[in-house]
């Protein structure tokens, strides 16, 4: 079984964040190789909604991670922060608006829009279906890939998004909306060809039915295990989340995990969970969007 760590951080001062990240790595016995040269960090940037909404990874969290990497590996390590254009978000604006341009300048790291990167096309299969993806060169050339996701509810059938979905965001093809009818399968397929080494959740602010300051840092080398743990914190039964089960079946990781650090139960009650009313509203909205009714009724 994989290890998943849970660390509580009360404030988000830089040194406290650094310590929380270092603690989360120690708890899963993670050690960086001294031979690393190129590191890729993939935060979760969501539209133009900044970290305070719980939708986007806090650049201050990434800054703390960069310091941990430089202290534990080498001050000269090459670090690239990557994201790709999405249906409604353009990196050239998101980097600036979400605070990543300032971070890159202050910390001397590279910002890479994967949609503008050179790439190779590869085929991947999941659930018996075949997909073709472009793999960006920056991802291929990295010798350590770190995903820094958020824990978020989604209106989509997949119910919750965390690191597996964040890695799906490395797909350089901007019109990601086209995948949404097979989103679960696509997420699993892309994770099979773009494997990340380390997953550290920025759970300082999480996004449930509303944002909430949870002060949580989680780490694991297993994307399925950490997403399963995140689903539990969000009050969801991982067995009902089909793409997590598919990810396990396709060999991306385990749904069983050994928790380390603060008990998961410490965070679970504080997560802003769906109640019956929001569950019904969410279901009704999802049906309205799928059937096109939402536009006719003025809900969009």
């Amino acid at each position: 079984m994989s290890l998943v760590s849970f660390v509580k951080v009360t404030y988000k001062h830089h040194d406290q964040l650094k310590q929380a990240i270092a603690d989360s790595l120690n708890l899963i016995h993670y050690h960086f190789s001294s031979k690393l040269e190129n590191i890729v960090i993939k935060p979760n940037m969501c539209y133009y909604w900044d970290y305070s909404t719980g939708q986007t990874t806090d650049p201050k969290f990434v800054a703390a991670l960069i310091d941990v990497l430089r202290e534990q590996i080498s001050p000269d390590i090459n670090i690239s922060i990557v994201e790709s254009d999405a249906s409604a978000m353009k990196c050239k604006y998101a980097f600036k608006m979400l605070g990543y341009e300032e971070l890159a300048q202050n910390y001397n790291v590279k910002l890479v829009n994967l949609s503008e990167d050179k790439h190779n096309t590869v085929e991947a299969r999941a659930s018996g279906q075949s997909f073709r993806f472009m793999i960006p060169q920056t991802i291929q050339n990295a010798d350590l890939k770190i995903s820094i996701p958020k824990i978020k509810y989604t209106m989509e059938k997949i119910k919750i998004t965390c690191t597996l979905k964040n890695i799906f965001g490395c797909n350089p093809y901007p019109q990601k909306f086209k995948y949404h009818s097979k989103l679960g399968e696509t997420i699993v397929a892309i994770n099979k060809v773009m494997k990340f080494d380390l997953h550290i959740i920025d759970g300082i602010i999480v996004s449930g039915i509303q944002p909430r300051r949870l002060g949580l840092v989680m780490a694991s080398t297993d994307p399925v295990a950490i997403d399963t743990a995140a689903a539990k914190i969000a009050g969801l039964n991982p067995k009902t989340i089909k793409y997590l089960q598919l990810a396990k079946k396709e060999g991306l990781g385990n749904t069983a995990f050994i928790p380390k650090g603060k008990p998961l139960e410490h965070f679970k009650p504080q997560y802003p969970k769906k109640n019956l009313q929001t569950k019904l509203m969410s279901k009704a909205y999802s049906i309205a969007v799928q059937t096109g009714l939402s536009k006719k009724l003025g809900l969009e």
């Binding site: 133009y48 409604a88 978000m89 604006y93 600036k96 909205y285 003025g298 809900l299």
Partner: protein, 328 residues
């Protein structure tokens, strides 16, 4: 005139709202629409608009069109409005009137020269809640208004746009100050300044503090303090930084205080309103302003807010940009 024949220029976010409302107008019919997007024109055709054009100049050449609704990006207002005036079309022009005072004056001059009516789109002036405020001020029940607080906070252009279930990026022009004329103050601030000018008359002095949360080269928040000629002091807060929507006017008079707000209905009410009325109550000011414009054309009356009002709003905004309060 018996029935006003309208042309709609621009089918972006606000243009599509006007398209819907045009179907509800009395004594008017939308007969033509133009937009660069063929997808958008298809929506107009589906709504029963007979003539559609990708080039608005073709629409302006149509002698059947009496008046046009211009719902284009701000940088296109001057050229389009001048051409419309020269084609003798009455104009309903979305706010802000233009990017700057020079352009606004050109539009007004073209309207005067061609003897056409020019009305600015300021739906808050037609919103029942804010009309009630005006009535309370005018009938004296609040006494003299010493202080007014106005706040208009929303996502601004950074809303998650969706069309046919496909999210769309924010149009590029919104990111270019040269094309918009400014940030949130010219966008949302123009609504509030126009409304307060309607309530209290002209602004004698204004200063502004500007915020740049999103690191862009235009402000995404503004706090202005304005002194009106009648003595009222107003604090105006506008912002594009929130996922929520908040629009509230609060007045403190020598007799009593009064407030009014405007907020979206919950989804269930929106569905009921759409099914029963054909439009959401949230936009009733938008429908009322169009109906008023049509009525002015039929009765041959000058509409208000006029082009001159739009110019005055822009002069106040330019003054606020110049008189910056720096708090470090």
């Amino acid at each position: 005139m018996e029935k006003i024949r309208l042309g709609l220029i621009g089918l972006g976010y606000i243009g599509k709202i006007h398209l819907k409302h045009c179907q509800k107008l009395k004594n008017a019919k939308l007969i033509a629409a133009s937009d660069l997007s063929k997808k958008a024109l298809k929506i107009a055709t589906d709504a029963g608009v007979k003539q559609t054009f990708t080039d608005y100049e073709q629409l302006l050449r149509n002698s059947d069109v009496d008046a046009v609704i211009i719902a284009l990006p701000t940088h296109l207002h001057t050229r389009c409005a001048k051409q419309a005036a020269e084609a003798k079309k009455h104009i309903f022009l979305e706010k802000p009137i233009a990017r700057n005072i020079t352009e606004a004056k050109e539009i007004i001059s073209a309207a005067r020269k061609n003897n056409i009516k020019l009305m600015m789109g300021y739906p808050l002036r037609f919103n029942p809640a804010f009309c009630k405020v005006k009535k309370r001020i005018d009938d004296g029940t609040l006494g003299e208004i010493e202080i007014a607080n106005a706040a208009y906070i929303s996502t601004g252009p950074f809303m998650h746009r969706a069309e046919a279930h496909t999210p769309l990026p924010v149009p590029e022009w919104w990111f270019n100050k040269e094309l918009t004329g400014g940030g949130v103050l010219i966008d949302l601030g123009s609504h509030v300044i126009n409304l307060l000018r309607w309530y209290f008359g002209e602004i004698a002095n204004i200063k502004g503090h500007f915020g740049y949360r999103f690191n862009l080269d235009f402000e995404d928040s503004a706090t202005c303090i304005a002194k009106f000629g009648n003595g009222t002091l107003a604090v105006i807060n506008v912002g594009w930084f929130s996922q929520g929507y908040h629009l509230k006017i609060e007045l403190h008079g020598s007799v009593r205080s009064f407030s009014a707000n405007h907020s979206p209905s919950n989804p269930i009410s929106t569905v009921i309103q759409t099914l029963t009325r054909g439009y959401s109550k949230f936009y009733e000011g938008h429908l009322a302003e169009l109906q008023y414009f049509v009525n002015c054309l039929i009765k041959d009356q000058p509409p208000s807010p006029s082009g001159e009002d739009g110019l005055k709003d822009l002069e106040v905004i330019e003054q606020a940009y110049k008189n910056q309060i720096r708090l470090g």
